[in-house]
């Protein structure tokens, strides 16, 4: 039997070719008649005003940071969940362990909530 990841690598190679053909094909087939107005940024037909890359709400950074923290904690659940049933037969230590972990997670969650990080104005 071959490595179980081999099909994934073959799929990746085939998919790269498909994506390349799709994206490069349209560049060759389509007409090319560019003009300055056509290539200007879309702003409902009006002349673009100001820099497009302006400052945006701090909330997006906040969400991204919270996501990284919580996503790491979610990942820690996965190995635990897989072995949970097998370890449960001996003792309920794995259950208590998890409750402590959820408790720590909740402290951070409640802190973020109380600080208003989850509010979106």
């Amino acid at each position: 039997m071959v490595n179980e990841w081999l099909p994934v690598f073959i799929f990746m190679i085939i998919m790269s070719v498909v994506v390349f053909v799709i994206l490069a094909g349209t560049a060759f087939i389509g007409p090319k008649r560019p003009n300055p107005v056509k290539l200007s940024p879309y702003e409902c037909g009006v002349e673009p005003v100001g820099e497009p890359r302006t400052r945006f709400s701090i909330k997006f950074y906040m969400i991204a940071m919270l996501f990284i923290i919580f996503d790491l904690e979610v990942i820690f659940f996965y190995p635990w969940a897989v072995v949970f049933k097998r370890f449960l037969s001996g003792s309920s230590f794995i259950l208590i362990e998890m409750l402590i972990f959820v408790g720590i997670l909740l402290v951070g969650y409640v802190y973020a909530w109380k600080k208003g990080a989850l509010e979106w104005q």
Partner: protein
């Protein structure tokens, strides 16, 4: 047969499977766009596209040709390289996820054990989650590299929404993993083929109803569909992160979105509705007909969830952005945690 001969046979079968899966999925994506327009029309008491071919069945092909022959516009102010690469970041992972979804039971023919999925990975679910997270890069890079106002706002909103709902999505699956004890999708399906109390199919939706509900909502938000399609809210954002894209590059985002819908529908089927399991029937005892039955059962369940996507689109109004964030962070996330704790305690009591 020799060792090398076996490996060549394996590789040939893998390639054939990939071509079939890719072909079927591209066809489904194409016809899903048509189905969406026809179903939308039906729900709004219109006709929908019915001119190209019988009942409009050739419409997706006409659309495809038109997309290919459209002029490719690269806006003058854009960051060219990233702008050109962004669609592939969406398209590439969207189709790769099908590699691990089993559409039928493993069976033996001519002394060869044949799997009904491309790759039977021992970390199947992590593989899918990793690839679906990858789509966020495509969205945010597309929004940023266009260097225009609407795409930037749309891309940011979309990225924030997708990462917010990834947490409940990931947490809702954990209940299933605890019950099954494996990340391998084929084992998750095998677990569900048995009966509960002798008459009820032991599908995970019966054991994890709350988990399924959270997964459903989060999957809708992940694939940027209504009622969560804030990124594309036409009245305020024109088109969202793909405003500046044209021709096949625009179509790539659409293909990615629809492929994501199929992935979610197939995942809901596999994780919560028994996958290829047809209840009260032992597929592996029926030979070829069992395989056929399994594939049909899988297709019907997936088809139902695809229809649900279209159904919900014309039933529920769009959320406001702050409501969306509140639902994700303040309701679904704690609910998913409660679900895990309750499942763990119940399992500890039953053990």
């Amino acid at each position: 047969m020799t060792q090398t001969g076996n490996i060549i046979l394996d590789v040939v079968i893998i390639v054939i499977k990939i071509v079939i899966v890719l072909g079927v999925n591209l066809t489904i994506v194409a016809y899903l766009t048509l189905a969406e327009r026809r179903v939308s029309a039906f729900m709004q008491d219109r006709l929908g596209p019915n001119r190209v071919g019988p009942a409009g069945l050739l419409q997706p092909i006409a659309d495809g040709i038109k997309f290919f022959t459209k002029e490719e516009i690269i806006p003058a102010q854009s960051s060219k390289l990233i702008y050109l690469m962004a669609p592939s970041f969406v398209l590439f992972p969207a189709f790769l996820t099908y590699a691990v979804i089993p559409v039928g039971p493993t069976f033996s023919a001519w002394g060869y054990s044949f799997q009904m999925e491309i790759a039977n990975l021992n970390i199947g679910i992590l593989y899918i989650l990793a690839l679906t997270s990858f789509v966020v890069y495509g969205v945010v890079l597309a929004g940023w590299s266009s260097n225009s106002k609407y795409p930037l706002i749309g891309g940011l909103r979309s990225a924030a929404q997708m990462i917010s709902y990834e947490l409940p999505l990931g947490l809702s699956i954990i209940g299933v993993l605890m019950i099954v004890g494996s990340l391998r999708l084929s084992e998750i399906v095998n677990f569900q083929t048995h009966l509960l109390w002798g008459f009820l199919p032991r599908w995970n939706v019966v054991l994890q109803p709350l988990g399924f509900l959270i997964f459903l909502i989060a999957a809708f938000a992940e694939s940027n569909r209504l009622p969560f399609d804030m990124a594309e809210a036409e009245p305020e954002l024109v088109g969202g992160y793909h405003t500046e894209y044209g021709s096949m590059k625009f179509a790539s985002f659409m293909l990615g979105e629809y492929a994501g819908m199929i992935t979610s529908a197939a995942l809901m089927t596999t994780l919560f509705f028994g996958g290829w399991d047809f209840p009260w029937v032992n597929e592996s005892a029926l030979g070829v007909w069992g395989i056929l039955l399994a594939v049909i059962a899988f297709s019907l369940k997936t088809g139902f969830f695809l229809f649900l996507y279209l159904w919900v689109r014309w039933t529920l109004p769009r959320f406001r952005y702050d409501q969306l964030m509140r639902l994700g962070w303040k309701i679904l996330l704690p609910l998913a945690l409660v679900n895990i704790v309750v499942t763990a305690i119940v399992m500890a009591f039953l053990a």
